[in-house]
């Protein structure tokens, strides 16, 4: 038993030690991103972005992978992440939780973002300009619960068109977790209809990952603002005056098509908090934000 007590004391001492050792103020800029597609490749996807920022900013930059949209918001809020590639909704949530934080850049495509409603071929649904009311009674999957293009916006437009809550419209409503998975599930027929981020859809179609005989686009939502880079308000204090501007410039200067393909965007442009007001309003109307 003495042995055991000894071990346990040692253990507590070490925990204490590890805490002290690692709570020293980090000069590394840590960033994260919402896990919106293929989760096995998150590190490859953003690891090189970290290297780029490191070079541009002249300070160590690290990317940390996280498992859920909410976890990115939490890490941002807890100061464990200072910069993040958010979706429209997660960005709005994060900026509400961290006063002073700012949206600094968005993809060229992001001010006019769309969600594609896709359907398995067995449903017989075809592409139309009008909302396809034939989706009623089918099985349906969103992406992640916290996604803008995979959940918030499609839910809003579906409920608006059908004048009913989604769980009444569809026979079954699921959450696939991310956009790649939504495509895979609708393609395999696990769900008949799904909502997917149009950029991810186009990218996967182009890469030949989608069997367009089995799954196809049936409707496109109106445009809305989506992804953006958001930075904490206190970074200037940590890394010196003008740091926010410096990060912004680095992002806007990102021209390497290889790196841009990771997002996937054709380039980055300036963004400000007010750009995302429509997202906040929609989230409030659906009840995700009180």
């Amino acid at each position: 038993m003495k042995f055991k007590i000894f071990i346990s004391l040692l253990f507590s001492a070490l925990i204490l030690f590890s805490n002290i050792a690692f709570s020293a103020s980090p000069k590394t800029l840590v960033f994260s991103a919402i896990p919106d597609q293929d989760e096995t490749r998150l590190k490859q996807r953003f690891g090189d972005v970290a290297k780029y920022l490191e070079k541009e900013l002249g300070i160590p930059v690290k990317y940390v992978p996280v498992k859920s949209y909410a976890a990115v918001v939490t890490a941002f809020r807890n100061k464990q992440v200072q910069l993040a590639w958010f979706g429209g909704l997660s960005g709005v949530q994060a900026r509400l939780k961290v006063p002073g934080s700012q949206a600094i850049a968005q993809g060229v495509e992001d001010p006019k973002f769309h969600t594609y409603i896709i359907a398995n071929h067995t449903t017989g649904l075809k592409e139309s300009d009008e909302f396809p009311k034939g989706v009623a009674g089918k099985t349906f999957t969103f992406g992640s619960k916290g996604s803008t293009s995979g959940r918030l916006m499609p839910q809003y437009y579906i409920e608006k068109a059908m004048d009913e809550k989604v769980d009444k419209v569809f026979k079954r409503v699921g959450f696939s977790g991310n956009h790649s998975k939504t495509i895979a599930l609708v393609q395999s027929g696990a769900y008949e209809v799904g909502a997917v981020n149009f950029k991810v859809w186009e990218k996967e179609v182009k890469e030949g990952k989608v069997d367009t005989k089995k799954v196809s686009l049936i409707w496109k939502t109106p445009a809305y603002p989506d992804y953006q880079w958001t930075i904490r308000g206190d970074v200037d204090k940590e890394w010196g005056k003008g740091f926010t501007k410096k990060v912004q410039a680095a992002l806007l200067n990102l021209k390497d098509p290889e790196l841009l393909g990771r997002f996937p965007r054709s380039g980055f442009i300036e963004a400000k908090n007010a750009d995302f007001q429509p997202i906040l309003d929609t989230a409030k109307s659906i009840g995700i934000i009180d």
């Binding site: 071990i7 040692l10 690692f22 980090p26 890490a75 807890n78 100061k79 790649s180 027929g189 769900y191």
Partner: protein, 503 residues
């Protein structure tokens, strides 16, 4: 015609549970949703034939993290649990421990993620806290039920500490040791599944690989995990433990920081119900609460109970099918070995992972959850009952085959079987709730949704309700066990089996 014959209480209770499960089944959603589930199953088995070890550094890292979190979490839990066991007779300690135990590690992880984020403390507390509460209870039971003859011989003047070390510990050491090492195995499973909510353990890599259908990677991870658990007795040695405990903090350390502000904010803002934070009127607050109760808590409770009852009876049925596989009364050694391998695989795979696999194949109805819970729990109890059956001496001219099963063994083992099953009841309920995170509409689904929408106040209320439901089932199970006089015998092995069944 009136019969003088009366059914035993065990018979009545069994049929009551079967009837309840049948009734629940009526309300449950057990459809196979995927259009091509067998196609996917085929791909899964192809993955088994071609495990992919190419990404060895990532796999190795995931295993190191899994081990380190498990070892530190269980060590910390056992130390605190041991201290708590000394004062476990205090009523409020018992109640708090019951409550902490009633909340699953994954829910604890979701809570601590909000407070400590990606800091290793999240994982350590998520394992350590509920494990401490379980250790406290079981250690206290060991102290209570163990042999006290040496104690009576000790002089009154002896100090408490030396009494403990000289008169109690030598008799109880084996109990402590074997239970603690058994819990380390559980800890490995817990640590592995914490990856599903974002800790850098096995579940992280596993769920990512699964998401993308990389089944060869999935099998590489699972096979390694089976190997790790199967060889546990070779690498867990008292002499090596200090080494592991010293190394582990370095493995799990990362450079994220924690601050007291976050802790404070969690308790003073995040979990305070929104209407109270905003100082809204009583009627508005009531509206908020009733909305939560009616639209989330009630359907969540109903589905959790339905799933639990069906899975409990299904586990019972599978147990009765499984135990002969490893019993000397039915199979020769070769056959029994196969039975052992099957049961070991089923009980080593965490039910969360089993359910996850089946969900990917069949889609998110209750069916995958029922099958996963029944296979895992059926294998655990089947293993224990199988071992008990082996000890039963039959007459040389005893009947064979089905008659032997029905008339010789089953009546002798039935009490033991029911006792084990009732011990698992609470555990099955805790798992049923947690499986909601995977998309089945049990309480876990609503808790996860609230957290994803950053409504921690709602999540905490739902977690509280889940814990209450668990405590209720635990109490009911204890009542039934007492009523049916299902008692534990306290030789070392038996008590360990009960612990195995319990946790």
């Amino acid at each position: 015609m009136d019969s003088v014959y009366k059914h035993s209480p065990a018979w009545n209770v069994s049929w009551l549970f079967i009837f309840l499960a049948g009734f629940s089944l009526f309300f449950s959603d057990i459809e196979i949703i995927s259009l091509e589930p067998w196609q996917e199953l085929k791909r899964l088995f192809m993955g088994l034939l071609t495990p992919d070890w190419s990404n060895l550094s990532e796999i190795g890292e995931a295993f190191l993290q899994t081990l380190a979190f498990a070892i530190l979490g269980v060590a910390g839990g056992s130390f605190i649990g041991f201290l708590l066991a000394q004062i476990f007779h205090w009523r409020w300690i018992q109640i708090s421990c019951a409550f902490i135990r009633a909340i699953h590690e994954l829910f604890w992880a979701l809570i601590f993620l909000q407070i400590f984020g990606l800091h290793p403390l999240t994982g350590l507390l998520a394992i350590g806290l509920p494990y401490a509460a379980t250790f406290a209870k079981v250690y206290a039971e060991i102290l209570e039920e163990g042999d006290k003859s040496a104690l009576q011989a000790v002089s009154r003047d002896a100090s408490r500490i030396s009494t403990f070390f000289y008169a109690r510990l030598p008799d109880l050491w084996e109990h402590f040791k074997s239970y603690t090492s058994y819990r380390l195995e559980c800890g490995l499973r817990s640590s592995a599944i914490l990856g599903f909510v974002g800790l850098p353990t096995l579940g992280y890599t596993l769920s990512s690989a699964f998401m993308e259908g990389h089944y060869s990677v999935v099998w590489a991870l699972l096979l390694l995990f089976y190997l790790l658990i199967a060889t546990i007795r070779y690498w867990v040695r008292p002499a090596l433990l200090p080494l592991y405990i010293i190394a582990a903090p370095f493995i799990i350390a990362n450079d994220s920081t924690i601050s007291f502000d976050n802790v404070q904010r969690f308790f003073t803002e995040d979990i305070i119900p929104t209407p109270i934070m905003r100082g809204e009127s009583l009627s508005e607050s009531w509206h908020w609460l009733s909305d939560l109760l009616i639209n989330q808590a009630l359907p969540g409770i109903a589905n959790t109970v339905v799933l639990t009852q069906v899975a409990l009876v299904a586990s019972g049925i599978l147990t009765l099918l499984f135990f002969p596989l490893i019993s000397t009364h039915f199979f020769k050694p070769a056959g029994r070995t196969l039975g052992h391998v099957l049961l070991v695989i089923l009980r080593t795979t965490p039910e969360y992972i089993l359910a996850y696999i089946l969900l990917q194949l069949w889609g998110p109805s209750m069916l995958p959850a029922i099958v996963a819970l029944a296979l895992h729990n059926g294998a655990i109890i089947g293993h224990l009952i199988g071992r008990y059956s082996t000890e039963i001496q039959l007459r040389v001219d005893a009947s064979r085959g089905l008659n032997r099963y029905l008339y010789e063994l089953l009546p002798r083992l039935y009490g033991q079987f029911l006792a084990f099953l009732f011990y698992r009841w609470e555990i099955i309920m805790r798992e049923s709730a947690i499986l909601g995170i995977l998309g089945i509409a049990t309480l876990g689904f609503y808790i996860d949704s609230s957290i994803q929408e950053l409504h921690f106040d709602k999540a905490m209320i739902l977690i509280f309700i889940t814990a209450l439901l668990n405590v209720l089932v635990d109490t009911l199970s204890r009542y039934l066990r007492a009523k049916l006089r299902l008692r534990t015998n306290v030789d070392c092995r038996a008590s360990n089996d009960y612990c195995t069944a319990k946790e």
